[in-house]
């Protein structure tokens, strides 16, 4: 088999090994790639930053453990930012699996980095509500119909953070971390466009291209995939140097991203080169054969 053909018919397991190495080696060596926020990410950061301390923020974890490597860094960055600014955060989820994601943040990150923050005063877990877009619609029409207690069953009136919350518009912004439907799109359609509450957040890299058309009129800002999370982390570290030593997951994971993307670009170029060389080679051989056939 000629070289171009052998490249085109390479065993796919060799590609898997190369991708595996491109992910593992940067994870071991931990190279740092300095990121800077793009306007679409910066606008989320600026909005959270400009809110007066004590503002009510609605943070919906619309994802499960399957997309956690992409969306957990965004969740941590948003929680760090909102808590540092002194906002009152209501956690919520439209995904059944989102309950565990909220618990992971409230049970690990908050006690560790913000031990002074108290449940019921600075943050609350409103849990999971079924009904997809219909659930959001019900909350906009009559918030207490759907949400009358926190995830543990404590009535909203018994918690200082939610005692005054009667309507969805009592929240100044809605942040959603989206892995699919329902997610940011539904928050835009059923809350942002109807009630006029500014909607922003992040999405997995698969979902992000579908959400860009909503920016900037219907969506204040968007963190697209791990890159978006990394940009938000860099904005956070720039503004609050105290986080310089905090584990920034997205920034760490950008190493494998960069190396793997370079590898994939090289493989695409190599594949195209092999294809065109192979075609030229075959054309040359066909031409020789034709000439040979014409000899007397």
């Amino acid at each position: 088999m000629r070289i171009p053909d052998s490249i085109l018919h390479i065993d796919r397991r060799i590609i898997f090994l190369l991708i595996g190495a491109a992910v593992c080696i940067p994870l071991i060596l931990k190279p740092r790639f300095q990121d800077s926020p793009t306007p679409i990410v910066q606008s989320i950061f600026d909005t959270v930053e400009r809110l007066p301390p004590g503002s009510r923020v609605f943070l919906s974890f619309d994802y499960g453990p399957d997309t956690a490597p992409e969306l957990d860094p965004m969740a941590k960055a948003l929680v760090r930012h909102t808590m540092t600014r002194g906002h009152e955060v209501s956690f919520f989820t439209l995904f059944p699996e989102g309950v565990g994601q909220i618990k992971k943040i409230t049970d690990s990150l908050l006690p560790l980095e913000f031990p002074e923050k108290a449940y019921g005063r600075d943050f609350v877990n409103l849990g999971y509500k079924a009904g997809l877009g219909g659930a959001i619609n019900t909350m906009v029409v009559n918030f207490r119909t759907l949400v009358n207690a926190d995830a543990e069953g404590t009535p909203l009136d018994a918690l200082p953070i939610t005692a005054d919350v009667d309507e969805m518009v009592d929240y100044v912004i809605i942040l959603s971390l989206t892995a699919g439907d329902p997610g940011l799109k539904e928050w835009i359609q059923f809350a942002g466009d109807i009630a006029g509450i500014p909607v922003m957040g992040g999405g997995t890299a698969v979902v992000a291209p579908e959400l860009y058309p909503y920016y900037p009129q219907q969506l204040v800002g968007l963190m697209g995939g791990l890159k978006g999370a990394s940009e938000y982390e860099s904005a956070l570290v720039d503004r609050y140097p105290a986080f310089r030593n905090a584990p920034m997951d997205a920034t760490m994971r950008m190493g494998p991203q960069v190396v793997t993307h370079v590898l994939i670009v090289l493989l695409v170029l190599l594949g195209n080169l092999a294809y065109f060389l192979g075609r030229a080679d075959r054309a040359g051989r066909t031409g020789q054969g034709t000439q040979a056939g014409r000899r007397p």
Binding site: R13, V23, A68, A130, N137, G153, D193, Y214, Q218, G225
Partner: protein, 224 residues
């Protein structure tokens, strides 16, 4: 559960799934079936406790459900919820061939209700406001009247991209002459969009692989 045990289960299942990259094998099949089974059971439990109990049983039998449904104490039964209960039971008639036709009533209600509920929102958010968002000035000036080259270029690309994309999908006229050129540009716009989406998909998949490799790293770290 013990953290070490969790790490071992996590690592074992990850390796079982990744073993498919070499070839199909019983370990992969086991992990796959376990995933499907656990997911189905989890969603069934969630469906019962988060959907049926608060939204139906809690409304019909509030005193009986007061221990598990917040706010049900002292509430009187709401018998209007018998209607969705009957419709829900009608859906289950699909399991009996003779009565399966009854499930169409419930399905008709679901399809009609969902379409009626979603149509105005999609029309407003995904059509009218999206059209508005495309009606933007091609020449962008700052407060002093200076031309903003970057913003102007973005707006021109956006408007031309939308027009070319729409023309490509306009099949009432043959794509020849000027229309053919615009349509061809539309294909380029679509190709660039697909390429960007592919790039994003690569990023998503590598993020997930990174998460799994980190988990395996934590497992190895617990051993050595």
């Amino acid at each position: 559960m013990d953290v070490t045990l969790m790490l071992w289960i996590d690592a074992a299942l990850t390796l079982m799934i990744l073993s498919f990259l070499y070839r199909d094998n019983p370990f992969y099949k086991f992990a796959e079936h376990l995933f499907v089974g656990v997911s189905a059971a989890y969603l069934m439990a969630v469906g019962f406790w988060d959907h049926l109990v608060p939204n139906l049983l809690g409304k019909l039998f509030p005193s009986l459900m007061s221990g598990v449904v917040p706010g049900a104490v002292g509430r009187s039964p709401d018998y209007y919820y018998l209607i969705p209960a009957v419709f829900g039971l009608l859906l289950l008639t699909r399991l009996i061939d003779r009565w399966a036709w009854l499930s169409r009533w419930a399905l008709a209600f679901i399809v009609g209700g969902a379409a009626g509920f979603n149509l105005p929102r999609f029309l407003d958010s995904d059509f009218i406001i999206q059209v508005q968002s495309t009606m933007i000035p091609l020449v962008v000036l700052d407060a002093s009247g200076n031309l903003l080259w970057g913003a102007s270029f973005s707006h021109v690309v956006l408007v031309l991209g939308v027009i070319c994309g729409l023309v490509y999908f306009f099949f009432s006229v043959e794509h020849k002459g000027v229309l053919g050129h615009v349509s061809r540009a539309g294909i380029w716009v679509l190709m660039v969009t697909f390429g960007a989406a592919f790039g994003y998909t690569v990023m998503a998949r590598i993020s997930l692989l990174t998460g799994r490799m980190e988990a395996l790293g934590a497992w190895l770290g617990s051993i050595f």
